[in-house]
Subunit: 78 residues, 2 copies
C-alpha cells in the first residue's frame, strides 16, 4: 500500500524557499500568484499491516518537525 505524507510549514513560519519561488514566478512573467509555500512530500510503500498509529508516530518522530511543521497522511489505493 502506498502512503503519501505531505509536510508543510505552519502558518506564520517564515518560508524563504516559498518566497524565492514566488519571486521567480513573477520574474518569469506569471501573473495572479498571491502566495507560495514550499513543503515536502514523502511517499512510502508499506505493508497493509502498518497501522495509522504507526504512520502517525513516523511523522512525529522523523518525517516532520512538529515545532514548525504540519503533516497530512493519505493512504493511496495500490
Amino acid at each position: 500500500m502506498k502512503v503519501r505524507v505531505s509536510v508543510s510549514l505552519k502558518n506564520g513560519v517564515l518560508d524563504p524557499q516559498g518566497r524565492a519561488i514566488h519571486h521567480s514566478l513573477e520574474g518569469l512573467g506569471f501573473a495572479g500568484v498571491k502566495d507560495v509555500r514550499a513543503g515536502r512530500l514523502i511517499e512510502l510503500e508499506v505493508d497493509d499491516s502498518v497501522t495509522d498509529e504507526a504512520l502517525d508516530e513516523m511523522c512525529r518522530k522523523l518525517l516532520a518537525n512538529m515545532v514548525i511543521e504540519n503533516y497530512r497522511i493519505e493512504r493511496v489505493a495500490a
Copy 2:
C-alpha cells in the same frame, strides 16, 4: 484558489534522501516499510483567473526538473 503541486522523482532516478529516510525509519524500529521516495510539495495561492495551462507552464519552467521529475497539479477548493 489554492493549488497543490506535487513534484516527485521519476522511477529509476536514484533517491538518496528517500533512502536515508527509509534507513532512519528502520533504525527507529518501524517495520513494514518497503520503500521511501522523497519529493517536494509546493502550495500556491492563485487568482481564479489563472488557467491550467499557466499552471502547467509554471511547473515545466520552474517548479519541476522535467528531466528527472514528474509533477501533479491539484486545485483545492478555497
